[in-house]
Amino acid sequence: MMQRTIPIAILCLSGTIMVAAYFLSFAQSWGETVTTWFNILAAVAFVLGAGNLIAVNLEKISSQRPGWGYAAITLGSFAFMLVVGLLKVGAVPDPKHPDVAFAGSYESAASPFGWMYEYVMSPLTATMFAMLAFYVASAAFRAFRAKNIESILLLSTAFVVLLAQTAAGMFLTGWIPEDSAWAFLRLDSIKTGIINHVQTAGMRAIMIGIALGIVAMSLRLILGIDRSYLSKN
């Protein structure tokens, strides 16, 4: 019973405080306090996460499951970054306190921790992000198949917007004077019209729905009507 009552009470209290903090000037600091509490909780929970990471990867290595080599690399990297970061190994000395090793900066690229982040972590992250370009192309290829009226509309709209983004757009319709009565036929004008009116209208409709959905769901949670996110035992 208490296992469910206490979390609901905490949620109700923090939810009400967060709403009050948004509208009342004097309650703003209360909201910040709630956020700080959550950060402390998240920091403690990180130990749980790190423990799970180690356990899962050790199990993969010991049972030699497919991809166990990746698990070994994960654990090795985790241990290396943890030790180098916590002990500030090779940290750049602080000019004010050069004799105190722990006063040094470990985030600088001159230190092993900063170097690993700058020259290993960042390029790997950028590589994953760059792959998105290929996925966008393959998803667009499927989405823009002219199967029915709706997809033909989607395809033609996307075609106009894409064409207007390129030099070909200016080449095809750039000769129409901007101050003439036919200026609306310029591809850049059509693109602006589609983005500012058609797309914005659709997006705002979705945004209004989302806002109302958030209000309804928050209310269900704060009033304790929806408890499906809690353990039942």
Partner: protein
């Protein structure tokens, strides 16, 4: 139990009323001292703290109106009024997707987004996870939930365990299938897509807050031929999910999902209250457009009045 909930709701209403009335009284009692600073009597003016953020008043009024509408709809549903909600294809397809995974002997993958439990989309995602886990437990399908936040992992374990109890199969619950990967966005993507390629899940669920990784997940899932069901309230990611997934819960549908899946009248009533808010939004849009048009056509004081009124209602 129902009476207890009702009493709790009434207490909540009282708290909500107090929360609404007190700041309103403060707000309307406030003389806006800052405005007096530039006047002739500036020397006599005394600055006072503004308790209520007046620039947020239209939002506050809208919040109160929608909140009251939702509570009324919940109470009406509780009193026995029939609640009719349209069917959601994405949620009806949950059983089909998990059934397919069971038949193929492949796992089911559930990704609750990349944000923490402070994000309401994650809470909505974890709620849907409960239903997916229950069906997976009933079908004896293997469910994997990689998470990018420790607290989400903990919450997901609770919910999945509860779902296994509810399905009458507590012995099949395996906490080892709900793992923490990393907080790093693309590190998480690498781990999850790697799992997808190696284990080839037959059904993939993406329910929560997603950013650039949405299409990376959805396209990888598509390439392995999985049935994909997504739900998010990130408008920028919706087109990607719509393009790459079989079913997508768009915005408000995603938040309505937990109520829809619960099948409880009280929860379904809140969706009807939400629709009332939508009607108000539509009416305000029509009024705002009308006032803007009149203000543009009629010059002078009337036009200014129309513009001022439009600004007042948040147009």
């Amino acid at each position: 139990m129902q009476r207890l909930t009702s009493r709790r709701l009434r207490t909540g209403l009282a708290v909500a009323s107090a929360a609404i009335l007190v700041p309103c009284a403060v707000a309307f009692g406030d003389d806006g001292a800052a405005a007096a600073a530039g006047g002739a009597g500036a020397a006599a003016a005394e600055a006072t703290a503004q308790w209520f953020k007046m620039d947020r008043l239209p939002l506050f009024v809208m919040l109160v109106v929608v909140g009251v509408a939702i509570i009324i709809a919940i109470e009406l549903a509780r009193s026995g009024r029939a609640v009719k909600i349209r069917r959601m294809a994405a949620l009806d397809a949950v059983d089909e997707a998990i059934g397919r995974a069971t038949e193929m002997g492949r796992p089911v993958l559930f990704i609750p987004g990349i944000m923490d439990m402070t994000e309401i989309q994650t809470v909505a995602g974890v709620t849907i996870l409960g239903r997916v886990a229950k069906t997976a437990a009933e079908y004896d399908a293997k469910l994997e939930v990689p998470t990018s936040r420790s607290i989400v992992m903990s919450a997901a374990r609770d919910v999945v365990q509860a779902a296994h109890f509810e399905a009458g199969r507590p012995e099949t619950y395996d906490a080892g299938k709900i793992n923490y990967i990393t907080d790093e966005q693309f590190g998480y993507v690498a781990a999850v897509t790697g799992t997808m390629m190696r284990e080839r899940p037959a059904a993939c669920f993406y329910m929560g807050a997603f950013y650039a990784e949405s299409l990376l997940f959805a396209e990888n899932g598509n390439s392995i031929g999985a049935i994909q069901i997504a739900g998010t309230a990130e408008p920028s990611q919706l087109p990607f999910f719509v393009a790459a997934c079989d079913y997508t819960l768009i915005g408000e549908e995603f938040f309505a999902a937990s109520a829809y899946l619960s099948g409880e009248k009280v929860q379904l009533g809140s969706i009807q209250g939400q629709d009332f808010g939508k009607m108000i939004a539509m009416a305000l849009i029509v009024v705002g457009v009308g006032l803007s048009t009149v203000a543009a056509i009629v010059p002078g004081e009337i036009g200014k009045f129309m513009t001022g009124f439009k600004d007042l209602i948040g147009g």
